[in-house]
Amino acid sequence: MKKSLGAVAVAAAVALSLSACSGSSSEEAAKGEISYWLWDANQLPAYQQCADDFTKANPDITVKITQRGWDDYWSTLTNGFVGGTAPDVFTNHLGRYGELAENNQLLAIDDAVEKDKVDLSAYNEGLADLWVGQDGKRYGLPKDWDTIGLFYNKGMLAGAGITEDQMKDLTWNPEDGGTYEKVIAHLTVDKNGKRGDEPGFDKNNVDVYGLGLNGGGDSSGQTEWSYLTNTTGWSHTDNNPWGTKYNYDDPKFQESMDWFAGLAEKGYMPKLETTVGAAMADTFAAGKSAINAHGSWMIGQYTGYKGIEVGIAPTPVGPEGERASMFNGLADSIWAGTEKKDAAIKWVEYLASADCQDVVASNAVVFPALKASSDKAAEAFKAKGVDVTAFTEHVKDKTTFLYPITDNTAKVKGIMETAMDAVVSGKAPASSLTQANEQVNALFK
């Protein structure tokens, strides 16, 4: 009796541990309803269309899409992994997938990609390789990409006598800020109507800031400062992807950050403390800033505001003679605990195919990962009257650098968020980042 009880317990334990990996037979795994999560509400209509088309082509499989806001997305997902309620397929981020792969939460899809002959060279350069983990296995197929550009208020530019061509040829350096700082200063207006570069400018009573501020930028500075810091030859980590040492202690980087924080000190950019709350794009729409550096995923929002003419310029050319933009991309990944493995793979491959990415392109919300679909998206934007070359140029000219992909990204972000806020708010000099950098690099020992 005792023995059989033990055997039952062992069998149950084995069954439990197996159910997470394989579970059902292949026939069942290829049909039924699969769940799919994404965080951007703007993209939901396009992907719902993809799901409907997918079911039409594969009547055995239906896709249930759930959109969850970015703020709760990752903690809800982690709870799902533990509680067994995670979606079969979900939109994944470069900053997160390393840790998920390391904890065996993602399904490697190399075999399927090979068997189904997915053409990895059809994606924009480098995008497909980003989703190969440190173990050499593939954990996702790319779905889109984004770069950074300068959104500007055309009316304010005209009022300041700055031409749109001038905006296309901005230069920047960490010593005097180049023509970028000159334009920002000239676009800044105080409550008495004095411009930022005029004598008598009151930096404590600014009406319109030349440059908007999104926040301190934490570890990546994706839209805040990386489009500047990375033109100096500096990069976030020793290697990318899978670096093991961060470089926030580099004097070159710290010089750039001192310049950036100085903009707020000079009154050309809002103080960090005043930006807690209303979103940067909304304050731009309210006429509080003339230029906002932001990502291509924001095109729809910026060009959608009523009563405000918006143009988009490329980010400035840096001291080494080139522009720079972070190149970030999302992918769709499969949860290792899925019971619908085959259906999930089919859906991921469909999401990564021209059939779905062309649908996304025609919605003109983001740039799809496939080169051909990217071009279609640019055309769709053009048809809406939006010139997006500021974003596509970075990819064409290869002036992009990757979002820093490492382990411990959540902890790095936790440390750097505080340190960067202190610097950008002027509470600490950029040299204080050396200490934060030591803390960060200690995580990799």
Binding site: S75, T78, T274, V276, G277, K411, T418, D421, K427
Partner: protein, 313 residues
């Protein structure tokens, strides 16, 4: 609000029958008693006792929730002792509790006296409770918008009256007072209600005697009302202090610990370490420390304020 407040009062085991009628009857009583105790007991065991014990266990492990916990002894605790962010969170929480409790108790006492002596209308008394009925998150978000630096109505008003705008949530000086004021606003009605109940329990004849002796209103308040209110005030203080130490939701939906570390209160830091940075062992260890601090604070309050004795007896 607090874990204490949620405990259903110590459900008395069905009164023992005065005349024992054999073991069967007593057994029957026990069964019925257990039946009535069961819901509270099961909830208490599964949602308090088990998680507490598990939390204590996890505090000695390295655990990222996706893998298995790995026993590391006291490593988390020694790391916490050297963690400046932990000490910062204690300091910040201390400031918050001090401001919140001081304002909340003073205002609630004032409101309770007004309810007792002036505002006899049930509608007005009920209205005082309205902020407390609102979800914490909704209340926090409403204030977040109203106090926004750029577009908040409060700052529009401040500017209109000729004063400089205030970064209520964004400046390190204002962030904690702002959080404390929001929660004072939300909780003072409820606290006032508790004190009001205590006021009503003070027999009227005590006041009549005081009046005959020619005591002034202030003397009556100081010499009669406050001493006789003491048991209720102690209860209110214990419950509100514990609740105040656990401030989380308003911080989470507004400043998320910032600016820099100005509002990284202890509960938020626990959440950050555990749920954002997947360091559940470390988070549990801080939670255990918070548990010990709260137990100590409650013990000191009960002991020195003599909350279990009344001067009425």
């Amino acid at each position: 609000m607090t874990t204490l407040a949620k405990h259903p009062g110590s459900a008395p085991p069905a009164a023992a029958s005065p005349k024992p009628q054999g073991s069967y009857r007593r057994f029957g009583d026990l069964r019925i008693a257990l039946l009535f105790i069961a819901p509270a007991l099961i909830g208490f065991v599964f949602f308090y006792v088990v998680p507490t014990i598990r939390g204590i266990y996890l505090s000695f492990t390295e655990y990222n929730i996706l893998g298995d916990p790995e026993w590391i002894g006291l490593d988390n605790y020694t790391a916490i002792a050297k963690d400046p962010l932990f000490w910062n969170s204690l300091a910040v929480t201390g400031q918050y509790v001090f401001l919140n409790i001081l304002l909340q108790t003073a205002l609630a006492l004032g409101l309770a006296l007004l309810m007792h002596q002036v505002a006899k209308s049930t509608i007005i008394r009920g209205a005082l409770l309205l902020p407390y009925l609102m979800s914490n998150v909704i209340a926090a978000l409403l204030w977040f918008w109203m106090l926004d630096y750029q577009i908040g109505v409060v700052n529009q008003f401040i500017e209109w009256s000729g004063l400089p705008r205030i970064a209520f949530f964004g400046s390190e000086e204002w962030a904690i007072p702002t959080q404390a004021l929001i929660n004072t606003w939300r909780h003072m009605g409820y606290t006032a209600l508790l004190i009001f109940a205590g006021l009503q329990a003070i027999p009227g004849h005590v006041y009549e005697v005081a009046k005959l002796d020619g005591a002034s209103a202030f003397q009556t308040f100081r010499k009669i009302t406050i001493p006789l209110l003491r048991p209720v005030l102690v209860l209110v203080l214990v419950v509100t202090v514990i609740g105040s130490f656990q401030v989380f939701d308003t911080v989470a939906v507004t400043t998320a610990g910032g600016p820099v570390n100005a509002t990284r209160v202890i509960q938020y830091y626990i959440y950050q370490r555990a749920f954002t940075e997947s360091d559940f062992g470390y988070g549990s260890a801080i939670a255990v420390i918070l548990f010990l601090i709260l137990a100590l604070v409650a013990f000191i309050q009960m002991k020195f304020l003599k909350g279990n004795e009344s001067d009425l007896d």
